[in-house]
């Protein structure tokens, strides 16, 4: 009985999202700019929720509460600083500037924008390649999360591969059909749903146990250090490194960065900016407290399992727990679908067109973009079947990898003296440094408590500025933009 209820809720939810996608399809034009950016037309609610839902991955519902359960609720502070403040500031500093430039010059991707600025298709290709390098494992991670969650929820009736496969097939279907507009609409639905589900879950728990004082007092007994701000795990250096690196990484994550181009107007940007901190508090506080409180209430988490489903199973009815898991599934899908779309756009726009077929028509680019989605999703699914590492490590590495791009890009956006050689040195140098820190023992991964991610960012900044200062910039000219003209000024 309960299994049928659970599967029914999840399948019903998937079908609802597909219906929204089909609705969006009817409005779409058959061009790449519409497929990727919904013709730069989003309003406040859609832009805010699509970015928000895109930001939230499996992490908010699984890995995050797990950390709060094991180490204490300080994660809320890290997430608040990173997404509510740092990302909001970058929303203006990077996002608003990118939006203006994108609207004036018809840019669709970050690589396209910088390639045009420095007159280099190699720079354009480099940024796309780096984007795909980090994006791919992250998409895979979401599929791993979906497969694991479905397997746990159905107690093995739906094996891992089948669960991950189902989610992948479904995502391909509606990304290919719906494009950015469909994704943004379903994101809005998913974002609102997650927010409501989390709050209802929290209130449900609080009513069941008799108020927040009870689990908090329980936590003070079972794990006294958890209520104290800071610990051996949560050191100031670690909290700051994590918040800064991930905050900057988010702004460079292809699916988030690309959303900077989608706003319909300046007002949309302003309103979303103001609402960021509140939205973050509204979601992160309850979801991570659920994890922390579960510890205080003595909820047992099975080996390799997640705390959120465990605490819901204990205090809420089956249908409600399934609904929240569907919400978590929504979080994963709303991140993955956008990543598929952005990954595909990086490939077609910045690798295929400049290097393989320069005379690509808008109509044909639209087709290749959709094929790209299928290839990318399928490859990530196959990789997810062999996944060796844990959710957290992979996710953390992707954010830090993207964060390495942020400072060189900011320098290029604001300093006229930036040269092609300078930004290339900054990007290549910081990527090599961070990859070495991640995969080799030669480069250490921490520096007096500060992470390699943040050290790499500083290195990228220093390289970009210093190399730009000693190299000439005069001869740079924009590369042939004629294929772009077809998409401009619409």
């Amino acid at each position: 009985m309960s299994l049928e209820v659970q599967l029914g809720i999840i399948v019903g939810y998937l079908l609802l999202a597909l219906a929204v996608g089909l609705l969006a399809y009817r409005l779409a034009e058959r061009t790449a700019e519409d497929f990727y950016l919904a013709n730069r037309s989003f309003g406040t609610v859609v832009l805010l929720f699509t970015t928000f839902a895109t930001l939230l991955s499996a992490f908010t519902f699984f890995a995050g509460p797990n950390v709060a359960y094991q180490q204490g609720p300080e994660w809320i502070l890290v997430m608040g600083l990173m997404d509510g403040i740092i990302f909001a500031i970058l929303w203006y500093v990077i996002g608003y500037k990118q939006w203006l430039l994108g609207r004036a010059h018809g840019y669709v991707t970050l690589g396209e924008m910088l390639g045009d600025r420095f007159g280099s298709r190699y720079l354009r290709g480099l940024i796309a390649a780096i984007g795909l390098l980090w994006l791919f494992p992250y998409v895979m991670l979401q599929q791993v999360g979906a497969g694991t969650a479905l397997e746990a929820l159905t107690e093995g009736a739906l094996p891992y591969a089948a669960g991950a496969g189902l989610i992948t097939a479904f995502m391909i279907l509606y990304v290919v059909v719906a494009g950015m507009r469909g994704i943004a609409w379903t994101d809005t639905l998913q974002g609102a749903f997650m927010l409501v589900a989390t709050w209802v879950a929290t209130l449900w728990l609080l009513v069941a146990v008799g108020g927040p004082g009870v689990p908090t007092a329980g936590l003070a007994e079972t794990a006294p250090g958890h209520l104290e701000l800071g610990s051996a795990h949560y050191t100031p250096q670690w909290m700051l490194s994590t918040a800064i690196v991930i905050g900057f990484g988010v702004a460079m994550f292809p699916q988030v960065n690309q959303r900077f181009f989608t706003a319909g107007s300046r007002t949309v940007f302003k309103r979303s900016f103001v609402l960021w901190p509140i939205l973050c508090v509204l979601l992160f506080v309850p979801s991570f407290l659920l994890g922390a409180w579960a510890r205080g209430l003595g909820v047992e988490v099975p080996e390799g399992g997640n705390v959120l489903p465990a605490v819901l199973a204990e205090y809420t009815p089956v249908w409600f727990a399934a609904l929240v898991i569907a919400g978590a599934m929504a979080a994963m899908m709303s991140s993955s679908d956008s990543m598929l779309l952005s990954g595909s756009s990086y490939f077609t726009r910045d690798l295929y067109r400049p290097f393989i077929d320069r005379d690509l028509s808008a109509r044909r680019e639209d087709t290749i973009a959709r094929v790209g989605v299928v290839v990318f999703a399928t490859a990530a699914f196959v990789a997810s079947l062999y996944n060796p590492a844990t959710l957290f490590e992979l996710g953390d590495a992707a954010f830090s990898g993207f964060a390495q791009l942020a400072l060189p890009v900011m320098v290029a956006l604001y300093w006229r003296g930036t040269t092609r050689t300078g930004i290339t040195a900054g990007i290549v140098g910081s990527q090599l440094f961070y990859l070495s820190a991640l995969f080799t023992a030669v480069v250490p991964s921490t520096y007096a408590g500060w992470s390699a991610g943040i050290v790499g960012m500083c290195l990228g900044l220093a390289l970009t500025v210093s190399v730009s200062a000693v190299t000439p910039s005069a001869t740079e000219k924009r590369w042939d933009r004629s294929p772009l003209e077809t998409n401009r000024d619409r």
Binding site: G80, G84, G211, G213, V214, L227, L229, G230, V274
Partner: protein
Amino acid sequence: MDWFEQKALPMSSSYHRQMGRIELAVWIVVAIVLSALAIPWFLWGDSRVFAGLPLWLWWHVGWMFLASVVFYLFATRGWGIGIDPPAEGGESR
């Protein structure tokens, strides 16, 4: 919009440029303070509980609402600073 429109301003608006720079500096300081105190470092090691939640969590929640108010002020008064060309106030849309 050119990549570096701001630099193309006529010299006659030097007074406005000067004011613009001070305003920009003020907003940068505000941004740094907002980031610096989102985590209440002065409550480090504190485990006091108020109304069922750690005191430091209440500070954070309050701070985020304050941040939203500050962002609102920025959006209404300072928006475009450092990015839009100040003379024309940018494209109006």
